[in-house]
Structures are given as C-alpha cells and as structure tokens.
Amino acid sequence: MSDPAAVSLGEPKPAERDGAGNRGRFLALVPAMPPGLLILLLFLFPMALMVGISLRPNDNGMIGEGFTLANYGLFFSESFYLRSFALTLTMAATVGALVTILALPVSYFLARTKSRWKTLFILLSIAPELAGAVLRTYGWLVILERDGVINQFLMGLGIISEPLQLLYSFWGVVIGMTHVLLPFGILSLYTLFQGIDPNLERASAVLGANRLRTIRSVLLPLALPGIISSAFLAFTLSASAYATPALLGGSGFAVLATLIYDEMLYLLNWPMAAALANILFVVVVMIAFFGARVEGRVNAKLHG
C-alpha cells in the first residue's frame, strides 16, 4: 500500500462496497435483461408449452382435450418408434467414434506443425464449416448416387459390374454425418493438443521410449479427457441432426429428428411430435451429462 497509485486504483473501500457498490452491481445486470427476456419468451416458455402439448391426445390433426401419457406410451410400446430410437443411437455412436478417430491425426498435425502453410491448413479444415451442411450433403449425394462418382469410378476400373447401393443406406448417412461434424472435432482436439507441452513427448523420447510408447504412455493419457468430451459432443450433435439423415438416408431411414419433422409437418400430429422432441431433448441432455461424468472421472484419475 506504499504505492500511491495502488491506493487510488485499488478495490473500493468497504463503505462504498456496501452502499452504492451493491446498487452498482445490480445496475450492471440491467443490460442482461433484453437477452434474458428473449430467452424467457422464446426458449423457456415454448419448451414448457411443448411439454404441455405432448401430454394432450391427438384429435385428427388437432390438439385434443384432456391430459394423457398415451404419446409417450406409444413411443415405448410401438416397435416402429423403438427401432428408430435404436437407429438414432447407433448412428450417433458410430459417427461420434469416427469423427474422433479421424480428427485425432489431423488436429495433432495442426497443433505440432511448423510449416509456413499452417494457417492455410487450419483454414482448409474450417472451410467445410463455411460451406454448410446442405452443400456438403449435396456433394455426398452426387458421390454416392447409383450412377454417382464412386460407382462410375469402380465400374470404370472393372472392380464391380453392378452399381453399389451406397445412397439411402446406413453407411451413406454415417459418411455424410462424419463429414459434417469433422471440423468441430478437429477444432476441439486442436486446442487440446495445443495445451499439451511438446517437451513432454521429447522427454519421453530422450528417456528411450519409441513413438508408440510415447503415444500410449504420455500423449493419450493427457489427451483422453478432451477426446472423451469431443466424442460425446459429436454424438449429441449427430443424434439431433435432420438434413443429412433425411437426404442421404431417404424416406426409409427414420431417426428421431426426421420422425419429429414428419409427425409435425406431414401427419400434423403435434402432440406426438412434441413428445418425440421432448424424448430427444432428454436423451441428449442425459448423454451430455454422462459424458461430463466420464470426462470428470478420467480427469480425476489423471491428476489424482
């Protein structure tokens, strides 16, 4: 406190803090009111309303009278819904795993490269994000179609004589979804690897470990919490994606997101659409919560 500047710049004196200070603090909250109001009116209120609608019966395209759990009952008893639920989870898990596996080498490369093209490489890995899901899904349609790029290529080489059914299949959707979510995975793992000191890897090499041993004993344990959170993020994002499954999967490929759309806009069954949306919401929140717990567990093991 011998420095005079420190006195005049320091924290307010206790008297100030108790009086005008408190009011000042609450005044500071005033700018949060417009965005807060927006969220209250356009997020919390509609979500609550949707829970209400999901408890109504469907009355020939109108919302019926009275309250019922029939919509949820139908979901858990009808095999059509249960199959699409299982398909959603299988697709999301496959995509989550693939995105993470493919993002690992690229993000590690981006974090460690000393090339003068580094900025270009980073831009190239974000570029698909600028293009949006519609352009990329359209690109995959052209590639996977019956007389599309892959079939033209394979038939031209004489490897196959009949075109493969790539479009409107599980793996077609998985390829498209993986492509859409890969930039997310790369960016999140890139910041993760940037945070791991490359000297640790050097130290490991100096101490006689080969590359594989360094990856297994040094790099992977340090990166694991980040890898887990990125995988779960890709899982939740693909579990709720609409456009790619709808376009690459075709009408027979029913995941929760496409079912919600069909119930809402074709069948006009709003209560069922609301129930499906609530189920999707709960599933996504549960998966995210589970992911955070696993990540916390691994983190505790690492630092404990």
């Binding site: 500071a28 965005p35 997020f43 899901a133 007389d147 919600i260 659409a273």
Partner: protein, 266 residues
C-alpha cells in the same frame, strides 16, 4: 518402427484432408457440367447452370437468406454485447448463474427449439403472414449464446486496468469508451457478427420449421428441391452461396481482424 508410424501418420493426414475437401470439389465440378448428367471427368465445362441461379426460383430465397442473416447477426451481436457486459461487470458469484441462463438455449438440440417455437408461435397466432419476423426471432435466439460467449471471452482477454488507466489520465467516460473499450472489443464483435451471419445463413433446424411460402431460406429451398430431383443447377446455387460466404468472411476479417481469436486457447 517409428519410421513406419510416421509414414502412416502422414498418409492418414493427407487422406483425411482429401476426404474433407472431396464433396466440395465434386460440387464445384458438378456446377460446371455441360449436361444434366454429372460426370467424374467431364469432357467439357459450361457455365450454363449458373444462369439458372439468376432466376426468381433461387434468387428470391438467396436474397431472403442474406437479409435474414444480416439482421440476425446485428440483433444477436447487440444482445450478446449486452449479456457479455452484464456478466463481465457483475462481479459476484451470481454472474455464473447469469451466464448459464444466457447459454441455456444451447442445451436443447436446435430441431427441438425449432418445433417448440413453431408450436408457441401458432398458439399466439404469430404463425403465418409475419414472414421474416418469426425466423429472425428464432435465429436470434439460437445465436445469442454464441455471441455472448465470444464477446465475454473477448472482454476477459483484455487488460481491464487499461480502462482505469484511461480515467486516471483524465479521459471522460465517453472518451474511454471511444478510444479504449471499443478498439479492444473490435475483434470480439466482428467474430460474433461473422459467426452469427454464417450460422444463420447455413441454419437448417430452425429455418425448417419457421420457413413458409414467400419466406423460405436458400438452405430450405435447396432441401425441398433435392427431395424430388438432383441436377447441376443445385450445385451452381451451392457454389454461389459458398463464394458469397467466403467473400464476406474475407471482407469482415480485413476490417475486424478477428481470426486470431479463433485458434487461440481461451
């Protein structure tokens, strides 16, 4: 052993980059196809499909999307700035509660928010005839968490004592705002504007439910068209969209210099 691993690593990096760029390359090639048939190696190139883009069918949703994205990015950035100021200057434990509240729309998948909004708008009879308004409200809602977070990170990253230094040196509040705070906030604001523009322009889940005849975004127009045919005109439409976005990002980066905030750790 290490050598083999190194080669495997390099090959996989190249292969994954190729995988990422392949569909975009294919779309560009398809947009230049001389016929209705999309060939892997076309004999000749043609710009005829770009002529189709400049017809009412595509020009109208394209213009609509650009207007919507511009309005959304402005509204979401202003609201995000407000939220960020409240969080950054409300110095007590409750600011994390305020922040969680402002980020809460991120907890729900956008498709769930989209259907909830459509049902709510229908309940209060705002469903039809309002055109851009319901879409603007929906898009702004889902962008506010992003802009709030970006601007908050920006405020936390700059040295807050600069502001006190300005007042010690005799600057008025207005001068401090003009010459100290605004220049420091510039990268965050431009990052927020750019990102909300791109995310709004490319948005599918919200637009899917809130688009209606006469107020349809380009993404939804393409999806609707794709449900019954694939032709190179769509590739041309997509290429035009991509070029618009790239030019816009380049211009905003030139003015705002925000790109370093992207790949810096926060």
């Amino acid at each position: 052993m290490d050598r083999a691993l190194n080669i495997l690593f390099r090959v996989s990096v190249v292969a994954i980059f190729a995988f990422m760029l392949l569909p975009m390359l294919v779309v560009v090639i398809a947009s230049l196809a001389p016929t209705n048939q999309i060939e892997l190696v076309p004999d000749s190139l043609s710009l005829q499909w770009f002529g189709e883009v400049f017809t009412d069918r595509w020009l109208r949703p394209l213009q609509f999307s650009l207007e919507l994205a511009a309005l959304t990015s402005i509204c979401a950035t202003i609201l995000g700035l407000m939220g960020a100021f409240a969080v950054a200057y409300f110095r007590c434990p409750a600011n994390s509660v305020v922040m969680s509240f402002l980020l809460s729309p991120l907890s729900a998948p956008q498709i769930v928010v989209g259907i909830a909004l459509l049902q709510a708008f229908a309940m209060v009879s705002m469903h039809t005839g309002l055109g851009i308004v319901t879409l603007l409200l929906g898009h702004t809602l889902v962008m506010v968490p992003f802009t709030t977070r970006m601007i908050t990170n920006n405020i936390y990253s700059f040295d807050r004592t600069l502001q006190r230094a300005a007042s010690v040196l005799g600057a008025t509040r207005a001068q401090t705002l003009r010459y100290v705070i605004l220049p420091l906030l510039k990268p965050g604001l431009f990052a927020a504007i750019t990102f909300s523009f791109i995310l709004s322009f490319n948005n599918i889940p919200i637009s899917l439910f809130l688009s209606q005849p006469g107020a349809t975004t380009i993404s939804i127009a393409v999806i609707n068209y794709l449900e019954y045919r694939i032709d190179p005109a769509l590739a041309a439409v997509n290429v035009v969209c991509l070029v618009i976005i790239i030019v816009l990002v380049a211009v905003l980066e030139k003015i705002g210099k925000f790109s370093h905030t992207l790949y810096k750790r926060d």
